[in-house]
């Protein structure tokens, strides 16, 4: 408040300054009157007395100003005067002003937008307790090629029993879906099954009700907590929701609480329910485990302790031999996919800002030179260096603030575009998990950031011209009358540096963008192993958990899926349809395990492969080529011999040149039934576009029906036309069967390529901006240089130098600098593009063709930028040139 009070006092002094001036005037006049009265009393005539009073008073004007200054708001008035003067100067040269403001707006706008993005995505802490101490714990088995596998409930129980000291607490969860019935249309909701330390682990303060109690873990409790979003949508935010019951998977659950809205950032689910004993002890893997580290324990220490724990567990349970754990902080896991893209962009916009500043500094410098005479006159009239520097600083800060405001608008527009076209979800590699990106806003800190950047640039380039000016001899400036002397080109060193820097930065950005273009086109031209166009995918989950569900019998599940498929295939417009456990590239889930080949026993390492249950017609629908043998038929069901189809990767790795047809695959657990290989299909990129296809074994779904399957439908009709028909077809089999996660294959592919796509689009725009800025900057420098040498050119032409020779001379000097800049840029690019290597696919970060192409492009653009002003100078009539200033 005191600061505000002080500001207010200053402001009112400023506003009322004419009133205060009047007061001072009156006081001084009164003084003179008194003195004159006294003198008059001594017998001097009134007129003479007044004259003498003034003389005795001393320099009236001087003391008036000094009194004024003594009142303490002198500086504010000076500043206001400088600002007014600055504005007048800027208005007098609109072209200069507009050029500077737009250049700065580009630089500052790009930086603000990216700052908002980085802050929103990378720097926003998760809205949970001790978010920085949460780590994700995965199982790994390097021997079997498993880098990150979700642990099982048994793992969690083991770890908890071993009381790993590094962790305060461990938390187990499983993503899933459930069917809600009895409240409007049947609906598939996203669910989360959690251990009952859920509330305490994340420090959740429920909006209403409570979270689970520890004693609710071991018995089967049908309690549910709703997410804020679901509560708003389904219950219209009803405050009496706690205590109501809901039907989930055919069972009645009691709602006990509502989560805060912010929890969505961590788990975007609808309903949270506790694990019960039965679930906890299942050996299924692919659950999630988070640990909360004790304060001051590092991830490395925790990992060391976990590896000891795993060794102990392996001694007790030999089946766990070979397994280890991988620990990664939760906050970095969530963003590990997008971070490199953002960091590369961060560098790029930083370069743009430097380019913008270089251009503006250059413009200021040129202008400072042309104002040399003005400055010299002012200094000879008594202006101090401080005053001159202040004037320049005020002018440049004005420009910077104008640029900053325009930049803020640009940033606002960019953030708007991001919200519209940017990705909303990003995958977490190898983790079958996606992160919903938070919405990006321009907040107070972004505006503060802009202000700081603007003022910093303002001060930076405001200082250059006066410092350069004082380097020279002011007297010369005065004598020359602003006329450039031949041979004397002041400020040349600075401008030389600017041209070199601009060339170098532009080259780095162009190289980066070209690498991205090449990489992205490579990425898009990757054959994923299937035909992604005109494919619709949707998921169906049978409610086998419900007590009275007919789907507890696996064969009923198979026949239900069979019926769904039959009805969907009959929908007009559906070319073909099939079922698969996992849609390629969808990051839905992972199903991977060991296998053995009956005919080739005795190898030490158990090979592993992706397991996929699919229906007949899957390969045709996806257009995965059949290379050998046959694909699944309707008759490959439980009543017939077990069969599998393998992919080309597996065939090549484990069978080499032999034909795998007729050989047998055995899964080394359970009943160990040999399954005959009946066909080989093409390899499919399942987990990422840029990765290598994994060995895959396809099983006919009727020989081991799952609870959840995805349906892939090939159709030429648009999604919203065909989807209701497909739903109706499914509902004609089972009225209560929800359909969810409806996505086109294009959408799925879009998610997988989101990070390179962001980097690709933005980096291209930035490189273009950089190139334009550099061209403008080089053009500006050359124009100024040439203008300074107009007389010289005139002399040369008058004495008969051929115009082309003069032109060559002018261009050569500038081009030398550009080549120097390009050389520096090449070195920087070699160092910097390494940062991008994780974003690049199929192109080396030092691709020589790209480096060459970018060099040629930048050199050509820069050469044109210095050719144009040089040509103009040579075309001027020599006589005019001679007389020019």
């Amino acid at each position: 408040m005191r600061i505000i009070g002080a500001l207010h006092a200053r402001w009112s002094a400023l506003v009322h300054r004419s009133a205060m001036r009047d007061e001072l005037e009156e006081e001084l006049l009164t003084h003179l009157q008194y003195r004159a009265d006294d003198l008059e009393r001594r017998g001097i005539l009134r007129a003479e007395a007044e004259r003498q009073a003034r003389i005795e008073f001393g320099g009236l004007e001087h003391y008036r100003e000094e009194s004024h200054a003594a009142q303490g708001w002198h500086w504010a008035e000076t500043l206001l005067r400088d600002v007014r003067f600055g504005l007048r100067i800027l208005k007098k040269s609109p072209a200069f002003t507009v050029a500077v403001v737009i250049t700065l707006a580009l630089g500052i706008g790009a930086n603000t937008a990216l700052f908002a993005l980085v802050r929103g995505i990378l720097m926003r802490p998760l809205p949970v307790r001790a978010a920085s101490r949460l780590v994700v714990i995965w199982d790994s088995n390097p021997g079997a090629g498993l880098s990150r596998v979700g642990p099982s409930g048994q793992d969690y129980l083991d770890w908890r029993e071993q009381k790993t000291h590094a962790f305060e607490d461990l938390f187990l969860f499983e993503h899933g879906t459930g069917t809600v019935t009895g409240n409007g249309e049947p609906e598939q909701v996203a669910g989360l099954r959690v251990t009952t330390n859920f509330g305490d682990f994340f420090g959740i303060v429920p909006v209403m009700g409570r979270t689970f109690l520890p004693e609710e873990e071991n018995a089967r409790h049908t309690l549910a907590i709703l997410s804020y979003r679901y509560w708003k949508r389904k219950y219209q935010g009803n405050p009496d929701v706690c205590g109501q019951s809901m039907t989930l998977n055919g069972e009645d659950y009691t709602i006990i609480g509502v989560l805060p809205a912010s929890f969505d950032q961590l788990f975007p689910v609808d309903v949270v329910v506790p694990f019960d004993d039965g679930w906890l002890h299942r050996a299924d893997s692919d659950l999630g485990v988070f640990g909360r580290l004790r304060p001051h324990v590092t991830v490395r220490q925790a990992a060391a302790e976990m590896s000891e724990t795993m060794a102990r567990i392996a001694r007790q349970r030999p089946s766990r031999k070979g397994f280890g754990t991988v620990l990664v902080p939760l906050e970095s896991v969530r963003m590990e996919y997008i971070r490199p893209a953002l960091l590369v962009l961060q560098c790029a916009v930083g370069f743009i800002l430097i380019l913008a500043c270089a251009n503006v500094a250059n413009l200021m410098l040129s202008r400072g030179m042309s104002r040399r005479q003005e400055m010299a006159v002012r200094m000879s009239l008594g202006a101090t260096r401080k005053q001159i520097i202040r004037q320049f600083l005020v002018e440049s800060s004005l420009l910077a603030i104008l640029g900053g405001m325009l930049g803020l608008l640009l940033a606002l527009g960019s953030v708007h575009l991001w919200a519209r076209y940017g990705p909303t979800q990003i995958p977490v590699p190898n983790a079958a998990y996606e992160v919903t990106l938070p919405a990006i806003h321009l907040g107070v800190s972004e505006i503060g950031f802009t202000l700081v950047v603007s003022l910093a640039t303002g001060i930076l380039f405001g200082l250059i011209p006066p410092l350069r000016l004082f380097g020279g001899n002011m007297q010369d400036a005065l004598k020359n009358g602003g006329r450039g002397t031949i041979g004397e080109v002041r400020g040349r060193g600075t401008r030389t540096a600017l041209v070199v820097v601009e060339g170098a930065l532009a080259l780095v950005l162009v190289v980066g963008a070209s690498l991205m273009i090449k990489s992205f086109s490579r990425l898009l031209s990757i054959n994923p192993g299937f035909e992604p166009n005109r494919l619709l995918t949707l998921r169906i989950k049978l409610s086998e958990d419900a007590a009275g569900s007919p789907y507890r019998d696996p064969w009923k599940r198979g026949s239900a899926f069979h019926d769904f498929l039959k009805h969907v295939r009959n929908v007009p417009g559906v070319q073909s349809a099939a079922l698969t456990e996992i849609v390629p590239l969808s990051q839905d889930d992972m199903d991977r395990g060991p296998f053995a080949i009956q005919e080739k026993p005795g190898s030490d390492v158990t090979p592993s492969a992706d397991y996929r249950d699919v229906s007949p017609g899957y390969f045709q629908t996806m257009r995965i080529p059949l290379l050998q043998g046959r694909s699944f038929a309707e008759s490959d069901d439980a009543r017939h011999p077990r069969v599998v189809v393998i992919d080309r990767t597996l065939a090549r790795e484990y069978f080499g040149t032999e034909s795998p047809i007729g050989r047998h695959i055995v899964l080394p657990y359970g009943p160990r039934i040999p399954r005959e290989v009946i066909g080989v299909v093409g390899a499919v990129r399942d987990s990422s576009l840029s990765g290598v296809p994994e060995a895959t074994i396809y099983f006919p779904y009727m020989q081991g029906p799952d609870q959840t399957m995805s349906m892939v439908v090939r159709t030429a009709l648009p999604q919203n036309t065909i989807l209701p028909e497909i739903r109706d077809a499914i509902w004609s089999v089972d009225r209560n069967q929800p359909v969810f996660e409806v996505r086109s294959m294009q959408e799925i592919m879009g998610n997988v390529t989101s990070a390179p796509r962001i980097a690709f689009i933005l980096l291209d725009i930035l490189a273009l901006v950089a190139l334009v800025l550099a061209a403008i900057g080089i053009y500006g420098v050359t124009s100024y240089d040439v203008a300074q040498r107009t007389q010289e050119v005139g002399v040369r032409l008058t004495f008969g130098a051929p115009p082309n020779a003069v032109l060559y001379m002018l261009v050569r000097q500038a081009t030398t600098l550009i080549l120097l800049g390009v050389a520096v840029g090449l070195l920087c690019a070699l160092l910097m593009t390494r940062l991008m290597s994780s974003l690049l696919y199929g192109v080396s970060s030092t691709d020589p063709a790209i480096f060459l192409g970018a060099t040629v492009l930048v050199t050509i653009v820069a050469s044109i930028a210095c050719y144009l002003p040089a040509r103009r100078a040579v075309r001027v009539d020599p006589l005019v040139a001679l007389r020019s200033e």
Binding site: D37, E66, A70
Partner: protein, 113 residues
């Protein structure tokens, strides 16, 4: 007035405070009072008074009030504030110490060392 002494730098403020301490005065009045209390021996350049006054007001040592003078003119009167009174006392003491020390130094005879 050849026997008038020039002010030592920094003493104007002390004189102003002292003059005003004897009762509220307007600017010209302060000038006259300084002449009066110094036995017309100290000369203040008239114009130099005002920057000094404003400085003291800004430091919170003086406060001002517009009023009507004995000559029936509207004038700005200066008064000591509590802080001003304290400052005057402190400055007076330190001045006296300085004067005593200098006098002592100047009156020292060679034999007395």
């Amino acid at each position: 007035m050849p026997d008038q002494a020039q002010l030592l730098p920094g003493t104007l403020d002390l004189l102003i405070l002292r003059a005003v301490s004897l009762g509220p005065l307007h600017g010209y009045g302060i000038l006259l009072r300084i002449g009066q209390i110094s036995g017309q021996a100290l000369m203040v350049e008239q114009g130099a008074l005002y920057p000094g006054l404003f400085r003291l007001v800004r430091q919170g040592l003086l406060k001002t009030k517009w009023g009507v003078s004995d000559a029936n003119r509207r004038a700005k009167f200066y008064e000591l504030t509590a802080a001003g009174r304290k400052r005057l006392q402190a400055e007076t003491e330190s001045w006296n110490r300085l004067v005593a020390a200098i006098a002592c130094a100047l009156s020292m005879q060679p034999g007395e060392l």
